[in-house]
Symmetry: C2
Subunit: 214 residues, 2 copies
């Protein structure tokens, strides 16, 4: 038998509290990513987190709110570094190169993210636009200005910045959404798919730069 001081007590309690809450978030995140909102039941979340069903409603008020919390967490984690690159003062070519590279690396680490976002986006359009998702995931103001400037300096051809950014995003993200068919068609393992994707870093960069030439 032994005693703990106040700080230890506090630590342990907070630890436990965060534990349950975080266990819920973590289990729910995995399930939502794998199976989507509809195919994931609260009982499944509870069972995976090894907690009672009602605790989900105790910490988050509803399944819906838990879901929105998780969306924001996922998007927040994913978009941070990417926004930094896009708003940095790097030269255009280097910025594009880094953006492609970081975006692809991020998606390799979170291979289910794109499908998840697209699913939410098309099932609950209002949700992703209402939440701070639009700004985080698709904000090109700074980048557009840079494209304008480079054009006026005569360094690149004239492009529609909106179209150009969508091109870049399409080339980066779409293969992840289409992953299952790509793997099936080419008999790719998970590892081979990642290799296929990594090859794309240079391909995408070359395509975009080549297109920008005046």
């Amino acid at each position: 038998m032994f005693y703990l001081n106040c700080i230890d007590f506090y630590t342990i309690v907070m630890q436990n509290k965060l534990d349950t809450q975080e266990k819920i978030v973590q289990s729910a995140t995995e399930l939502f990513l794998e199976k989507g909102y509809d195919r994931t039941s609260v009982r499944e979340i509870a069972s995976k987190a090894k907690i009672n069903v009602s605790l989900m409603n105790y910490y988050f008020r509803s399944k819906e709110i838990l879901f929105e919390t998780i969306i924001n967490l996922l998007i927040g984690k994913a978009s941070g570094a990417l926004k930094d690159v896009l708003n940095s003062d790097l030269g255009l070519n280097e910025k594009i190169r880094q953006y492609i590279c970081k975006y692809i690396d991020m998606l390799i680490s979170n291979p289910l993210l794109i499908s998840f976002i697209l699913a939410v986006l098309n099932r609950n359009p209002e949700k992703l636009t209402k939440l701070k998702v639009a700004d985080n995931l698709y904000n090109t103001d700074n980048f557009a200005k840079q494209l304008e400037e480079e054009y006026e300096k005569g360094k690149i051809r004239k492009v529609n910045p909106e179209q150009f950014y969508i091109n870049m995003l399409s080339l980066i993200a779409f293969p992840f959404a289409f992953k299952h068919l790509i793997n099936k068609k080419n008999n790719f393992s998970q590892k081979e798919f990642n290799e296929f994707i990594k090859e794309r870093k240079e391909i995408i960069y070359n395509m975009l730069i080549c297109y920008l030439k005046p």
Copy 2:
């Protein structure tokens, strides 16, 4: 009071039979496209088709089978013309031009198709690979051979055909999956989105051709 001959009788009966069956397919198709499999209940389908719930199980044995039927119908309709272009004996540039054009026109007519397919693909990977979908939607054997030949003739640079096809597909299809965010970000109406997409025909063509130059 009047009598009908045999053929008229047959016609009317068949007409009615097809009517109920087709009413189910049509209503279910709209709902599945709009809301997906999970968020669409059989009672909603029945109500929209103005039939009794059990008729869905009478004509199709289950919701699942009805869904698979509809997937095949949608993919079949969509992929026909596209496969023809890809397997035609057109020159490379013209083939690419026509493929982009027809694909985009098809997606403008079926704006929900891409999201629908991606949703199925990621929720039930085995379904889209089991069904004849993979072959219909993503068959590049012929196209790959053509890219090889053009390279050997020295007319284009060396490219990985698989990567090149995925690039083309990404540029064509992704904006439709991302539609809601694009519209929100740019304050596009439906019409303006279609204009934005139509602009892409030339952009995508130029990007691909530019990249192919030796």
